[in-house]
Assembly symmetry: D2
Homo-oligomer: 161 residues x 4
């Protein structure tokens, strides 16, 4: 199996499907792009998921969430910090920036916005009391922010060139 498909399955197994992410992209772009279509957002998400660095961040982050949830970390101090998603824990955001950085400054700004206001699937992940979603909510936000940035650049390309 392709690593990309593996990542899409991993996301699904944690309650996230690509449409949820495409809806975040739609939300981020609808004020800037006339007649934006959800299919275009979906295509942009798919392209972000095709990048190797994105895939490796997804796999690493979700693995940490699962390990914490199963109480399988060796160091119980960091396990507790990740599990409670303590305010000062920023490694999840650092991983998310590793994704956003690949798509430039618009992606980073979009990520900060999503992360603060917690729209759609990000809110759902954040409010879920039964899972440790410390990493996945930031990763999903980063994928959406990146797909929105990619989309904006493509659209602008027509004008600025």
């Amino acid at each position: 199996m392709e690593i990309k498909d593996h990542c899409i399955e991993l996301l699904l197994s944690r309650g996230v499907n690509v449409n949820d992410i495409a809806e975040l992209v739609f939300l981020l772009q609808k004020d800037y792009v006339q007649n934006i279509k959800i299919e275009e957002c979906l295509e942009s998400v798919d392209r972000v998921l095709s990048k190797r660095e994105v895939q490796l961040a997804i796999m690493t982050g979700i693995e940490l969430d699962i390990l914490c949830e199963k109480k399988q970390l060796n160091d119980k101090l960091i396990e507790g910090i990740i599990d409670r998603d303590e305010g000062m824990y920023g490694v999840d955001e650092v991983l998310a920036y590793g994704i956003c950085n690949l798509y430039g400054s618009i992606a980073l700004t979009n990520f900060g916005y999503i992360d603060k206001l917690k729209f759609g699937i990000v809110e759902k992940l954040n409010d879920d009391p039964n899972h440790c979603n410390t990493f996945i909510d930031d990763i999903v936000g980063a994928i959406a922010a990146s797909a929105a940035s990619r989309f904006a650049h493509r659209k602008a390309g027509d004008i600025l060139k």
Copy 2:
């Protein structure tokens, strides 16, 4: 004169005083810190302004704004792009991230939030038709976001240690 004082004067000459920035910090932190005082926010802004890398970013960004405003750039293509603050121009945000990065992941998230919603002085700078504020609005947002992150880390230090 100290470089810090030079930067505070530069900011003032472009319509920004440190209280405006402290108010952004207050706004960012009031939901997280009980009985937060504006004096504490002001002190945190002052500490951010004491860092050499922050000062050099302020001086470089404001200089570019002034040069554009005075039509003094040699390359008229980039002058126009900066002057109109075109959507795809991200060097201003890159400079802002250079500041935020010094204060960790909370600073970056805060910056994205301010940059999207444009509160207080950032909105005022952004709406000013008489000046080129392409760099300064992001720099001011970055200083506020950094001061808020610094503040949050100090407060949390008491608890997490």
Copy 3:
């Protein structure tokens, strides 16, 4: 004229041609890729130069170099700091990271390596007593580091997929 062509001319006017950059890519990759060809390196440089965020960083950085050289900055304090490329001045590196970040972590590591050891054209720019090359040497290093990272990812793609 295309913005990309404008950037290539700007680089040329400051003594840098794309072959110089391709040679840096070759140097960075020759130990990792068997039978690497300079044409492949050149193609990778060309693709990096096609990105809008890269073009805008090139134009902004070179403009600052030229303005300093001509003593056209309004603020003589920052003019002196940039002109002498003072050790603590890091805005040039911040701009360079804005380029490298688009190509992932390998690009950043490569940049640090080039920046310290100053190979080829980077050394030439750095040693030139007649020009202010504070920004362009980092920008050229960043383009080379990014092109090398892009190249490495392409090659690895065949294996890891």
Copy 4:
């Protein structure tokens, strides 16, 4: 126990003591600072280790190394990639940049240099066939690069102010 002491013990349990890191700082700074003393380097390392974001990155990275070594990851695909430290795996560097970014652009450049040339303890970690050191070698490099940057800024402060 203080989180800092916990991190120092964690590093020790993986074969790294603070003196090893101080020696890297010495190496990075000796050409720039006259009469540099190892005690000063050690003090700078200690200050870097006092930052909460640094501590959390150390704990997260070392935990991933240990989990991989013990074959305790749930996802065997990512376990293999981390264990072999595959060339395209960059999450370890992303974590390292999360540390370096706190200390500005000099830290990032220093990190790239150490990461390529693999001095001292970084080489030892890298060559160790009995442990998974994918994260710790980058973390150690990042701490040293950051301590060197902090040191350089302090020294320059006397001059530039």
